[in-house]
């Protein structure tokens, strides 16, 4: 028998049998993640099952993040029901509105045990593969069943091996890398499969979340990074494991990538989308709402002012990320540049709260989805890109290659921005802003606060 992929290894271990791709296994779950947007259906499911109590309160994590803080009375009522349910069940792992996106907290607070199966009520639960867990997103009824039994059924997935080599050049990120992979594999190229990432284990945890989470955009059941610092020794695919497909990406030649609406796999090199005007820029989500993402945006925006007629929304992915960005002056720099700072959570990523898009509006988002209607109006268009590209778009009002900006002297930079702004076709209306304190504030920041940005 050939060696095993990472998915086969994990599922063999937890199901206590020789699990091979295609087998159906029933497996114990190490944790169930539930969030606000499906809680009603999950509670109804548990009730319908005739099981009022979850199987193990210490293995359940609950989050209010998808429409938080509540934008409407209906949502507020649903949040109230959720809080009452959490209290009645005695679930201690509960993160209320403003704490952040479920996936970010699950990984950064250590709720994802490497080598185990985690069921989440969210399609991006694949993110837990960032630390070597088999995270699978499921619908409300599956989640209710998981909460009742502590087990779920899975078809052992085939695996697709993605190998990264080299390091990206300045201005190119792992967001570009994963969009390059989506471009290669397509929205359903990894359907039912596990995407196994090689050559990414040593990356910062945030980059690994970006990679693992976006395997959802290829239809994957799970996405797991090999060789992370969190993973135990056994958690390694065998040599000679059989893969359904293998892809190699050379990061050293990677160009910044843009996903063109309305498909996440309609991905082009940034040069092909350069000049595309935008009205709104969103920096945030479980894909790109971390401190490092805000650093990258601030590397472009610090001490400057976003373009007239453009709105910038920054939503940190967790309170920890937000407070770190407050402490080192990054959020101040972004606010002074004209950003609207939202409380940590999903924000406008899914069009429910915190700045939804109007018809005809064009958005550059650092999130992971650009379907029609995703962020509000069905007539809005969403381009996806890295935080660097987002920052340049906020500054110039159009999509552009961020690298010349990162290399430019101050003078060259200003000339580049002025030229781009002049080229931008008229869109939207400009509004008065309460004083332009961008330079003043940033340079008056207390000593010891990092003004230098590490990208």
């Amino acid at each position: 028998m050939s060696g095993k992929t990472l998915a086969e290894k994990i599922l063999s271990r937890v199901s206590d049998r020789d699990a091979r791709a295609g087998d159906l296994v029933i497996v114990p779950i190490s944790r169930v993640m539930v969030h606000d947007s499906v809680i009603d259906a999950v509670i109804a499911g548990l009730r319908a099952l005739g099981r009022e109590r979850v199987w193990d309160t210490s293995r359940v994590a609950v989050f209010v993040d998808h429409a938080a803080p509540a934008p409407t009375p209906v949502v507020a009522d649903s949040h109230r029901v959720l809080r009452e349910w959490v209290r009645a069940q005695g679930i201690a792992t509960f993160y209320d509105a403003g704490e952040g996106v479920c996936h970010q907290i699950m990984v950064e607070e250590g709720y994802c045990e490497p080598g185990t199966v985690i069921v989440g009520s969210d399609s991006h639960s694949n993110s837990y593969g960032a630390v070597g867990a088999f995270g699978a997103g499921m619908g409300a009824t599956d989640v209710a069943v998981a909460l009742a039994l502590g087990r779920t059924w899975l078809r052992v997935p085939e695996s697709i091996k993605v190998t990264f080599t080299g390091r990206p050049r300045k201005g190119v990120t792992m967001k570009d890398a994963i969009m390059r992979v989506v471009r290669e594999i397509g929205t359903d190229g990894a359907r039912y499969a596990c995407v196994e990432f090689h050559g990414a284990g040593a990356l910062p945890q945030g980059d690994r979340i970006t990679l693992a989470g976006m395997t959802t955009e290829m239809g994957a059941k799970a996405g797991i990074v090999v060789g992370t610092p969190e993973a135990p020794d056994w958690l390694y695919p065998d040599p000679g494991a059989a893969y359904a497909n293998e892809i190699a990406i050379d990061l050293t030649t990677l160009e910044p990538q843009i996903a063109v609406p309305p498909r996440v796999d309609q991905v082009v090199d940034v040069s092909q989308a350069a000049g595309q005007p935008v009205d709104v820029v969103f920096l945030g989500s479980c894909t790109n709402g971390r401190l490092v993402d805000m650093h990258q945006a601030a590397a472009i925006l610090r001490g400057r002012r976003i373009a007239p007629n453009v709105r910038l929304e920054v939503v940190p992915s967790s309170r920890r990320q937000m407070e770190d960005a407050m402490a080192d002056g990054t959020l101040l720099a972004l606010s002074a540049a004209g950003a609207v700072i939202g409380s940590s959570g999903c924000g406008p990523c899914l069009g429910r709260t915190g700045g939804v898009l109007a018809g005809e509006e064009i958005c550059l988002s650092t999130a992971n989805r650009n379907y029609r209607g995703r962020m509000g109006s069905a007539d809005a268009a969403i381009y996806l890109g890295s935080p660097y590209i987002a920052a340049v778009a906020a500054l110039t009002g159009m999509i552009d290659d961020p690298r010349p900006y990162l290399e430019a002297t101050d003078e060259e930079f200003d000339a580049l921005v002025a030229r781009r702004r002049a080229e931008r076709p008229e869109r939207g209306t400009s509004s008065f802003r309460s004083g332009d304190r961008s330079r003043e504030l940033v340079f008056a920041a207390p000593r010891g606060v990092a003004l230098e940005v590490d990208d």
């Binding site: 087998d23 159906l24 296994v25 029933i26 606000d36 947007s37 499906v38 009603d40 259906a41 499911g45 319908a48 099952l49 005739g50 429409a67 409407t72 209906v74 949502v75 649903s78 009520s121 969210d122 399609s123 997103g137 499921m138 619908g139 409300a140 009824t141 599956d142 209710a144 069943v145 009742a148 039994l149 087990r151 059924w153 929205t187 359903d188 359907r191 039912y192 239809g219 059941k221 498909r263 899914l350 069009g351 429910r352 939804v356 989805r369 379907y371 029609r372 209607g373 995703r374 509000g376 069905a378």
Partner: protein
């Protein structure tokens, strides 16, 4: 007689029920009236119990939102035949008792509005243009569907069907 509604490839759950019309946003009794409101206006009014949706590749991709499937179940959709299904959507349909069956030739054969019959036992979708072949469902899924969904199955049996 059930009617066929045809759709293309990569139909995502945001098109089935847009996020802004989630039960969470509009209430439990209304969300299904927004089914396909952007992608196929009029659907929720005109669809009749037992109607069959026929699609291409990757039907139901995107968000894991089960209410997209719940909306179809509420409207009485009798089954979905597509070249392939997105994974979470597939599970959700089985769980909520909507037959989801793969067929390579159905979408090429059937025309929107055709009167059709879904014959699970015979393994075909009957259309005016001839029969489309259905891929047999796994026994595990079939057992859950026959019970009317996973909740009904578990209530009756207390545990999953045996894994094979």
């Amino acid at each position: 007689m059930p009617r066929a509604w045809t759709f293309g490839d990569d139909l995502d759950t945001d098109q089935i029920v847009p996020g802004r019309y989630a039960p969470f946003m509009v209430g439990q009794d209304k969300f299904h009236t927004y089914a396909f409101c952007d992608a196929r206006p009029g659907f929720a009014k005109e669809v009749r119990p037992g109607d069959i949706l026929v699609g291409g590749e990757n039907f139901g991709c995107g968000s894991s939102r089960e209410y997209a499937v719940a909306a179809l179940a509420k409207l009485g959709v009798g089954g979905i035949v597509a070249k392939s299904f997105a994974r979470i959507f597939f599970r959700n349909c089985i769980n909520l008792g909507i037959p989801v069956i793969e067929s390579a030739d159905a979408i090429g054969l059937v025309r929107d509005g055709d009167e059709v019959t879904l014959d699970l036992t015979g393994g075909v979708l009957r259309t005016p243009q001839g029969d489309a072949t259905l891929r047999p469902l796994a026994a595990f899924a079939r057992e859950i569907l026959d019970a009317g969904g996973v909740v009904a199955y578990l209530r009756e049996h207390g545990d999953f069907p045996a894994a094979r």
